[in-house]
């Protein structure tokens, strides 16, 4: 099968063509660098994204949070359910783990400092 996608690893945004056989990439063209090849191969097999959102702290402020590694794109909306149930208490600092291994070995971490 032939897939056309836009590489998002850098602002160049190369148009990449990937041919897959039995779910695996057999050829990648159009990328300008190796990062593009890796991106395209993952993208056709199992696309992943970093989830970024906010949670309401017990004092009412909103704390930005993110997964520290990309998680499966298909799981993003389901993960939002879990994340919206969290209500941490200040102080919280960048990198503090809020949920260990929320998915695929990625932790949910604080992405801002709230004193």
């Amino acid at each position: 099968m032939k897939h056309t996608l836009t590489c998002v690893e850098c602002p160049m945004g190369c148009e990449i063509e990937v041919v897959t056989e039995n779910g695996a990439a057999v050829s990648v063209t159009g990328n300008s660098c190796p990062r593009g090849k890796a991106y395209a191969e993952n993208e056709v097999v199992c696309p992943k994204r970093v989830l970024t959102t906010t949670v309401r702290m017990t004092d009412g402020r909103m704390l930005p949070v993110k997964t520290n590694l990309p998680v499966k794109k298909a799981e993003l909306l389901a993960l939002m359910q879990t994340v919206n149930g969290l209500h941490p208490t200040a102080p919280v600092h960048i990198g503090d783990v809020l949920v260990k291994n929320i998915s695929d070995g990625a932790d949910l971490v604080a992405a801002d400092n709230m004193e």
Binding site: P11, M62, A111
Partner: protein, 416 residues
């Protein structure tokens, strides 16, 4: 409150913070940052998505994380920051008058001033759309503030006009929070947003992008109940018979950003009609001696990484001015040639030292082109480029020796 500082920076967003650190590291320690809000970081505080810092730090950070890096540097140097401080006026003698709850109205004299006020969103008022003005119409940035800072969703059924980056980011953000984004309409035949955002904010969630489309009617009395969207022709006029109707309770506008230059204008500092920011030299000094500008107040950037880079140039320039004073200039202009919407800096001082990066944007999407910088018939520099779009800033590096050799004004143009 001191009566004077070597450098006063107006704005504590990404540009102001990076400029302060660079000025300090260039030997000027007496630096003051004036910030309107209760915290520094500017717009980055509400940009909770990631993708910041890829160019500069080779890692993907959220807006607050990117801001925190610079806040830490500012703090480590003991640079003074006044929060909740709004600058009321500025003049060419570099007197800055501001007001804050803590100090009331006060004036500080500055050895050099750095303008880092950022930009604001173009308003819907600039667009003529039929219909009354019901509730439920927001700029994308306002919606971003509601969702990310205040924590509530301004609506459940959304149509977005304009495919600027903030609009794209909000399409994803509101979808994740449970809203349904029915469409993003873009007047132009191409998007003004970054490709990464089209892929990850729209395609990932199957949100349709209608190019060459606009909203022609907003329905609803108290609250938005729907919109009519029409295709437009080459002259951006709606084509009859192409109307589509969407039920929605919210319309977001993401139709561009404008540098926030009221202060600059009040100080009679010349602006460029193309960038809507000040006209500057390589060191980001404006036509007013000792007053520098950087970041989105100078040109609307698409990557904060470039804002930091430009702010550092201004910070070093301002420090140089404080330490060594003004030097006589010998300047040439950089003109916009074919398919170039603007180039920055607009002026090159042949007496300035160091290489210079020209930042510029193309006027339309282009493929397989060459950027050519000429001085009369002489080609100073050229570079091949496979793809160029208006939404992504381009750069060219001009060597100090090339600048010194210029015999007159230069023109940057696209050759196909």
């Amino acid at each position: 409150m001191k009566a004077g500082y070597d450098i006063v920076i107006i704005g504590g967003g990404p540009a102001g913070l990076a400029a302060a650190v660079a000025a300090y590291d260039s030997g000027v320690k007496d630096v003051l940052i004036l910030e309107r809000e209760a915290r520094t970081g500017g717009i980055l505080n509400q940009c909770i998505h990631n993708g910041f810092g890829l160019t500069r730090f080779k890692e993907s950070m959220t807006g607050p994380e990117y801001a925190a890096r610079f806040e830490r540097e500012v703090k480590a140097r003991g640079i003074e920051v006044l929060l909740e401080t709004t600058v009321l006026s500025l003049n060419q003698q570099r007197e800055v008058t501001a007001v804050s709850p803590e100090h009331g109205v006060f004036t500080v004299r500055a050895g050099a001033v750095i303008l880092a006020m950022g930009c604001r969103e173009r308003s819907r008022g600039a667009l003529n759309i039929a219909g009354s003005r019901p509730a439920g119409i927001y700029s994308a940035g306002t919606a971003q503030k509601y969702v990310n800072i205040k924590g509530y969703l301004p609506g459940k059924e959304v149509v977005i006009l304009g495919s600027g980056d903030i609009g794209l980011i909000m399409a994803r953000r509101m979808t994740l929070e449970g809203a349904k984004v029915h469409a993003v309409c873009e007047l132009m035949p191409y998007s003004g947003g970054l490709k990464r955002n089209i892929v990850q904010c729209l395609n990932d969630f199957n949100i349709p992008l209608y190019l060459s489309h606009t909203i022609t009617k907003i329905e609803g009395k108290e609250r938005v109940t729907g919109v009519v969207v029409s295709q437009v022709d080459e002259n951006k006029q709606p084509i009859k018979g192409t109307e589509k109707h969407f039920n929605c309770d919210t319309v977001l506008f993401s139709v561009g950003l404008i540098p926030e230059n009221e202060l600059t204008k009040s100080a009679n500092i010349p602006l460029s009609p193309r960038t809507r920011g000040a006209v500057v030299y390589q060191n980001r000094e404006t036509e007013a001696q000792g007053i520098f500008a950087c970041g989105n107040v100078l040109q609307v950037h698409d990557l904060v990484d470039f804002v930091s880079e430009e702010a550092e140039i201004a910070g070093r320039g301002a420090a140089q001015f404080v330490l060594k004073g003004a030097h006589p200039r010998e300047s040439v202009s950089v003109e916009n040639g074919r398919d170039i919407s603007y180039v920055l800096p607009q002026k090159l001082d042949k007496n300035a030292s160091g290489d210079t990066k020209l930042y510029f944007r193309v006027a339309r999407p282009l493929k397989e082109i060459k950027f050519v910088l000429r001085c009369g018939e002489h080609v100073v520099l050229e570079r091949k480029k496979r793809v160029a779009v208006p939404g992504e800033m381009e750069t060219l590096l001009l060597k100090e020796s090339q600048i010194k050799e210029l015999s007159g004004n230069v023109t940057l143009e696209v050759v196909e």
